[in-house]
């Protein structure tokens, strides 16, 4: 088989990102390879600890993207080589060390992660000091504030998903729509908020708390749990004493959310349960089992269930296993494809401290509208965070969809029920509600 025909065969079979793969293949064909040294993609990932379920998927996503890109000749003839450092689901000290090791020891050409914990500004400091491109999905206002405030310093840092702040009113918009459209009849207007100790969870809970009254809801409980939390008895006792129509759990660890649902369903209240992000992972369904069915969740960076998203999901699960979570892996998978195209367009990857070349890549990233299994990545020019659809743009082709899903079957990912045109199913009242 010739090189060209094998590429065609690969593209025909490629599960995802076919558009970017074809584009990259074209750039590679026209490039005259002058350098065949590997492009080191550094992954500072939470491979152990509380959010390792996600970290494992981030690693798989990078591996899958690297395989696909290398099969097409890498980036302008240079193969991708991955290097990982464990951030241990810990704070800034560990995260900074991991990022710094990727630069100093591995000589990484780019840093790509899903999300990390800590202040969510740690790796921006590491990357900007080395003038290195850093792509992450921290879903953090901390990033948008940082970059908007000091764009000259953080020009190389990109968050390829929207900030967590949009979860607040997107949720309120969504449940209000369910009510006004007659799909949901709540027993009361009380809303219970259960959050965790991590900034992401707190910010989302605070943004819902701040706007709840505007939508006619009354916050009847605001509880902060520790992480990890496996024994939910005292929290559930409070919920049962004053049953709310809406329960929102923004503490996002999938294993803790699974225990919440298992224990909640031993004596459920007539409440619509929304779990932030964690329920989008296979680990949640695996642990919660039947208790996962009926749960609502949202993510502003989830795999769509359209042609591209489904093809990616199929390939991802085939490459890994049935318990793999495309929603996690799809993030870093998309980010590496995005970087590969931007670097190829800019004339090749940059090295640490090579500001001129990395600025060219940053400029390409800022100018691109990139379609991937998660939807569209298009960066806000001030914050260098992906724009959200329908929150920041009403055009689905120009923003990453803020998707709401409902788990219908414990063996499958949740079905997207909003927003249009990506919805594939209708909301159904959970079995435990009256």
């Amino acid at each position: 088989m010739t090189n060209a025909s094998s590429r065609r065969a690969f593209l025909a079979k490629a599960g995802a990102g076919a558009g970017s793969l074809a584009f990259l293949a074209g750039l590679n064909r026209s490039a005259e390879a002058q350098d065949s040294s590997p492009v080191i993609v550094g992954g500072p990932l939470p491979l152990t600890g509380a959010v390792a379920a996600d970290g494992v998927e981030f690693k798989r996503g990078l591996e899958m993207a690297a395989e696909e890109i290398n099969a097409l000749g890498g980036i302008l003839g240079r193969p991708i080589q991955l290097a990982f450092e464990d951030t241990e689901s810990k704070g800034d000290d560990v995260i900074i060390s991991a990022g710094q090791r990727l630069i100093d020891k591995h000589n990484a050409n780019v840093l790509i992660s899903g999300y990390n914990l800590g202040s969510q500004t740690a790796l921006q400091g590491v990357a900007s000091a080395a003038s290195l491109i850093y792509l992450h999905a921290d879903t953090a206002r901390a990033h948008t504030d940082l970059v908007a405030k000091e764009p000259d310093k953080y020009w190389s840092c990109f968050m390829y998903c929207p900030s967590e702040l949009y979860y607040g009113f997107a949720y309120l918009d969504f449940v209000k729509h369910l009510e006004t459209s007659g799909q949901l009849k709540l027993p009361n207007k009380k809303l219970a908020l259960i959050t965790g100790p991590i900034t992401y969870s707190i910010n989302i809970a605070k943004s819902i708390e701040a706007k709840a009254a505007d939508y006619g809801y009354e916050v009847s409980l605001y509880e902060t749990v520790q992480a990890p939390t496996s024994e939910w008895g005292p929290t559930l006792a409070k919920l049962r004493e004053n049953p709310p129509g809406l329960i929102v759990v923004t503490h996002f660890f999938p294993q803790d959310q699974a225990q919440f649902m298992i224990q909640f369903l031993t004596n459920p209240t007539d409440s619509l349960v929304y779990l932030q992000y964690g329920a989008s992972l296979a680990a949640f369904r695996d642990i919660a089992g039947d208790a996962s069915q009926g749960v609502l969740y949202a993510t502003n960076i989830g795999v769509l269930q359209d042609e591209i998203g489904l093809a990616f999901t199929k390939s991802y699960i085939a490459r890994n296993d049935q318990k793999a979570s495309p929603n996690g892996g799809g993030q870093t998978y998309s980010a590496l494809h995005l970087y590969a195209v931007a670097a190829a367009l800019a004339g090749g990857p940059g090295t640490p401290y090579e500001e001129e070349q990395n600025r060219k890549i940053a400029a390409r990233l800022k100018a691109m509208t990139f379609r991937c299994p998660m939807g569209v990545i298009r960066f806000d020019q001030q914050t260098q965070a992906a724009l959200s659809y329908p929150v920041q743009t009403k055009d689905p082709s120009l923003g990453m969809a803020h998707i709401f899903s409902q788990i219908k079957n414990k063996a499958e990912n949740g079905h997207i029920i909003s927003p249009s045109p990506y919805d594939i199913a209708k909301f159904e009242k959970p079995a435990w509600m009256k």
Partner: protein, 292 residues
């Protein structure tokens, strides 16, 4: 009334798990003057062994549970034979052993991570179903945890007080040289203590993972709490550790309900400080060590 009942159920469940985790630690310290930093990873080993036996080998749950206990005991024995016995008579044993067992813990945790990965597996050792007391639903799992803790801790207390084996442990703990002169083989006694501590830790690990999930670092949090409980009880007091664990479990659940979940552990630590100011040797602390 319902709230009180819920606090009791949650508190006793938490307390029973803490008790299993801390009794083994207290026994080790009481007998050997050794704070075992690998105690948390013993819990993890027991939990993963049960998971492996049930999920991967398809053993029935009771057998898988016993296999997990055996794995805990085995890891305790191996650590004694390969590490501890060489350090027992060395200068600065009490400090050096903390470093050595911390090293063993890191090694074992990394091996578990290498072999199983970091995916939060579900512990198959579960008892399904609930029954009701009034409007409160009580899971059979919680009852199982309480019964299991009572049986194991009761068994250990009986062993210590009613058998020659227990007498040897207590004698060695009180005065090693005197025990040796009376024909007690201290080395073998220490080995037995580490096996028992491993079995208890494994039981705690299996039960904790049944309410949470498996992860290579799942032992870290329970180890911290077990240490706190042992300090409150008085280092080395086995019965004291059991009582303190139940009391602190109930206390934590009550604080979580009345003041907020986030205050549970911090206020528990504050209480510990107050107790230690009032009784520096702990609530049950005296001169001698292992006391049933």
């Amino acid at each position: 009334m319902q709230a009180v009942l819920q606090i009791l159920i949650t508190g006793l469940t938490l307390g029973a798990m803490y008790a299993l985790a801390s009794v083994g630690l207290a026994l080790t310290y009481g007998t050997m003057r050794m704070f075992n930093m690998a105690h948390g990873v013993f819990m993890t080993v027991g939990a993963y062994a049960t998971y492996m036996a049930a999920s991967l080998w398809g053993l029935p749950l009771p057998l898988a549970f016993l296999f997990g206990l055996a794995a805990g005991g085995l890891i305790g024995a191996v650590m004694h034979l390969l590490v501890i016995r060489f350090m027992l008579d060395t200068e600065g044993f009490e400090v050096n052993i903390i470093v050595a067992t911390a090293g063993v813990a890191i090694l074992l945790q990394d091996l578990l991570l290498k072999y199983y990965g970091a995916y939060p597996f579900r512990q198959p050792a579960q008892i399904e179903g609930v029954f009701r007391i009034g409007d409160i639903a009580v899971t059979y799992q919680s009852v199982g945890i309480l019964v299991m803790a009572a049986v194991l801790i009761g068994g250990i207390a009986w062993l210590l007080t009613h058998t020659r084996f227990g007498l040897a442990i207590r004698a060695t703990a009180m005065n090693r040289e005197a025990a040796l002169l009376m024909g007690v083989e201290a080395g073998r006694t220490y080995l037995q203590v580490l096996i028992i501590a491993g079995v208890l830790a494994a039981a705690a690990g299996i039960l904790i993972s049944s309410l949470a999930t498996l992860s290579p670092d799942m032992g870290a949090n329970p180890l911290l709490r077990a240490f706190v409980i042992c300090v409150v009880a008085g280092l080395g007091s086995v019965t004291g550790a059991g009582i303190a664990a139940l009391a602190l479990g109930l206390c934590e659940a009550a604080i979580q309900y009345y003041l907020g979940v986030r205050y549970g552990f911090p206020i528990m630590l504050l209480l510990v400080i107050v107790v230690l100011i009032w009784k520096p040797a702990g609530l049950f602390g005296q001169q001698e060590v292992v006391r049933s």
